[in-house]
């Protein structure tokens, strides 16, 4: 791996780690919100809701950064292109079937002409 790729990957990994940490915190806040709801603690529930929303905003921002900082075609793009290729490949196969049948028709008709010329 070149130094260039290593540097880019390091930045990417760090962003990914931040997102994972933020998700862990969301999970923790969700637990707190559930506890608050179970104990009818309106104030704790309201606080947990507010914090949760802030963290979700933060995660969305991080996700945007993560996706925006990716360079080159993503795995998803490649998968979509594979889907398109499969669809086109099928149509090509069907074309081949038609072409083969057309060849059979042509061969039969050539043989017919030959037989008429040389009975």
């Amino acid at each position: 791996m070149t130094a260039i790729t290593k540097a880019a990957e390091g930045k990417f990994t760090s962003l990914f780690t931040t997102i994972r940490r933020a998700l862990d915190q969301v999970e923790q806040r969700l637990d707190e919100a559930v506890d608050a709801a179970n104990t009818d603690d309106i104030i704790a529930l309201a606080t947990a809701r507010k914090t949760l929303k802030e963290q979700l905003f933060q995660i969305r921002e991080l996700e945007i950064d993560y996706q925006a900082s990716a360079k080159g075609p993503s795995e998803a793009e490649r998968a979509l292109a594979r889907g398109a290729d499969e669809a086109k490949g099928f149509l090509r196969s069907m074309k081949k079937v038609s072409d083969t049948l057309d060849s059979v028709a042509k061969i039969a008709s050539t043989l017919t002409r030959l037989l008429r010329v040389f009975p």
Binding site: T2, A3, I4, K6, A7, A8, K11, I42, I43, A46, T47, R49, K50, K53, F57, E63, I64, D65, Y66, Q67, A68, S69, A70, K71, P73, S74, E75, A76, E77, A79, L80, A81, R82, G83, A84, D85, E86, A87, K88, F90, L91, M94, K95, V97, S98, D99, L101, D102, V104, A105, K106, I107, A108, S109, L111, T112, L115, R116
Partner: protein, 336 residues
């Protein structure tokens, strides 16, 4: 089926429920999705966007040059190489030679490739369009008719050959072919149509997650390019008002719990006011959202997901309704 803003939903529903009875009938729905994707591309590609693409291309050229120069610096070169570095690498002079590589750890600092957001968006939108076009070609293909026509032509030619040759074997074959011609053609058509439908189902189902992801990636890149700034601002304002309403509610609960009637009355007034402001901010956010590219891309994602669900479970009415709603939304978000 064309879904316009004026079409009552129940009419759309009835028409489409009838239309969605078989998977093959998804062609019109797919057409709406593909058309929307095409119009999305047009909305994004403003002159400002084209300028960003040019800037990205220049940045990529500069990066390639820097990498090549850094690569030359990592080697001990003959004296003539100064010329190569000064000018463009492609203008290299034959006397420039690598004498030795600089040992590991003593290379020049690494260079990061530039961010090419506009080029990335362009590529992703083209990928989405190419995928939908391929599906459209698969759906609107005349494969069955072509194969049936070729099959009929082959049968006819063999029949003529049999007649001319006077061969009992060929004539027998031709008689059999003629006797079962209609059935054979029907079977060929049906088989090809089934294969085509199966391929369509397979491609849509296996690509749905990727489609969702590519659209989300496109949204993120567009955000960072500065698209949808109004939407982001309206969302922040809405969220701020939501926080204020949340705080006002907590203050009300605290005042009530403390039994402070005057404070509770004041808090109740403030809470009501906060709710009014929240409603206003929400309305303003919804207007911004309707105009945003984010919402258009969301609608595109939802339409593909609904189509995949309809394919997965064609008998579930909820899936058909979800597909209709997503198509109606799509038509609304991508007006003519």
């Amino acid at each position: 089926m064309f879904v316009s803003k004026q079409t009552p939903l129940f009419v759309v529903g009835l028409v489409a429920i009838a239309g969605c009875a078989t998977e093959a009938d998804l062609s019109s729905e797919l057409g709406i999705v593909a058309d929307a994707a095409g119009r999305l591309e047009t909305s994004v590609k403003s002159s400002e966007f084209e300028a960003r693409i040019e800037a990205d291309e220049e940045a990529l050229d500069a990066y390639a040059y820097d990498v090549a120069v850094a690569d030359l610096h990592r080697r001990r070169l003959s004296d003539d190489c100064a010329d190569v570095i000064q000018r463009r690498i492609d203008d290299g002079v034959p006397d420039c030679r690598v004498i030795a590589r600089i040992p590991e750890g003593r290379e020049s600092p690494s260079i990061e490739p530039p961010a090419t957001l506009a080029l990335d968006v362009n590529r992703k939108l083209s990928g989405i369009k190419a995928y939908l076009d391929a599906l459209d070609a698969l759906m609107s293909s005349t494969s069955e008719a072509d194969v049936r026509k070729s099959f009929a032509a082959a049968t006819k030619s063999i029949a003529e050959l049999g007649e001319t040759a006077g061969s009992d074997a060929i004539s027998g074959l031709v008689e059999t072919l003629e006797a079962t011609k209609t059935q054979r053609e029907a079977v060929v058509s049906f088989a090809v149509q089934q294969l085509r439908t199966r391929k369509f189902r397979q491609v849509v189902l296996q690509s749905d997650d990727a489609f969702q992801e590519v659209v989300r990636e496109t949204q993120s890149k567009l955000f960072r390019l500065g698209f949808d700034a109004d939407y982001a601002e309206a969302l922040r304002a809405f969220s701020g008002k939501d926080d204020e309403a949340n705080d006002a509610y907590v203050a009300l609960v605290v005042a009530r719990q403390q039994g402070d009637t005057a404070a509770a009355a004041q808090a109740a007034t403030e809470y009501r006011q906060a709710i009014v402001e929240l409603d206003r901010a929400e309305a303003s956010f919804k207007r911004a959202e309707d105009r945003s590219l984010t919402a258009r891309l969301d609608a595109l994602r939802a339409a593909h997901r609904a189509m995949a669900e309809t394919i997965r479970n064609p008998d579930r009415v909820e899936n058909t309704i979800a597909l209709l709603e997503s198509l109606r939304d799509l038509a609304k978000k991508f007006p003519d």
